[in-house]
């Protein structure tokens, strides 16, 4: 607007430099707020009659650029604490792997459990069906195979 624009730009540039560590969107936000403030205050002054003293006074009331930037840095600090609560993409995939491993482990255990149960129920039904589990199973076929022929051969001579 006039020769004092340079003063304002110098001030805003000083704030911008001091905001080096602040994310770009916040930096832009603060610079926009400050320049709006300066523009509004300059508009209150008599048009085209503002003096250097008046413009400097606006900037002095805004304060030391370093101090203003430091306040924005304080605001930028809070975000770091929340991240531990959020699951980072890396941790997320690690967590998914653990979930998969757990599910696989539980499934294996269940399968083993079912197999063990099935084994016992099969052998259990054998025991309940016959009084002597091992002997009849082993002896009955053995008898029918080896004893029956020997038993059947002797009668043949007696008959003949």
């Amino acid at each position: 607007m006039n020769t004092y624009d340079g003063l304002v730009n110098d001030y805003l540039r000083a704030v911008e430099q001091a905001l080096a560590g602040v994310p770009a969107n916040r930096r832009g936000e603060l610079l926009a707020d400050l320049s709006e403030h300066i523009a509004a205050k300059r508009a209150e002054l008599a048009p085209d009659q503002e003096t250097e003293v008046e413009v400097r006074s606006i900037l002095e009331l805004l304060g030391d650029p370093e101090e203003v930037a430091a306040e924005a840095m304080v605001d930028a600090e809070p975000p770091p604490p929340p991240p531990p609560i959020l699951i980072e993409p890396k941790k997320r995939s690690a967590a998914l792997i653990w979930v998969a491993v757990t599910i696989a482990a539980v499934a294996t255990m269940c399968l083993l459990g079912v197999l063990i149960l099935a084994f016992f129920s099969v052998s259990g039904s054998n025991t309940s069906g016959e009084d002597t589990p091992a002997r009849p199973k082993a002896t009955v076929p053995a008898m029918s195979d080896s004893v029956a022929p020997t038993l059947s051969t002797p009668p043949t001579p007696t008959h003949s």
Binding site: R26, E36, A40, A43, L62, V68
Partner: protein
């Protein structure tokens, strides 16, 4: 003691933002006017410029919302108003502050006669 002004800075932290909310509790406030009023309170703030990061934080928190309005002279003006969350936050602060202040006064021995 070690850093000049560190005590007032520490006391401001956590309280100044609620002073800002209280100023716009009844009516929306023109941003520049709000900053001018608070900037004049030397106990509360160091300079007008430091209030803008604070106002930005209140916007991000969803405690205040802003509206642009045409000005009879000069550029459009940004007005600040409390949201429902802002009203709740201020109410909560009032309860906390009262018991906090009473306890500090009792222990430090600054209770008003």
């Amino acid at each position: 003691m070690d850093v000049p002004g560190s005590l007032s800075t520490a006391l401001r932290r956590g309280t100044l933002e609620f002073c800002v909310l209280a100023l716009m509790e009844q009516d929306e406030q023109y941003g520049v006017e709000l900053v001018r009023r608070l900037g004049a309170e030397r106990t509360l703030t160091t300079s007008e410029g430091t209030l803008y990061p604070l106002l930005a934080r209140l916007r991000r928190a969803g405690w205040v919302e802003t509206t642009w309005r045409e000005s009879p002279s000069g550029p459009p003006r940004r007005y600040y108003a409390l949201t429902q969350h802002g009203h709740q936050a201020l109410r909560h602060f009032r309860e906390e502050w009262t018991s906090f202040r009473d306890t500090v006064d009792r222990i430090v021995g600054t209770r008003a006669a």
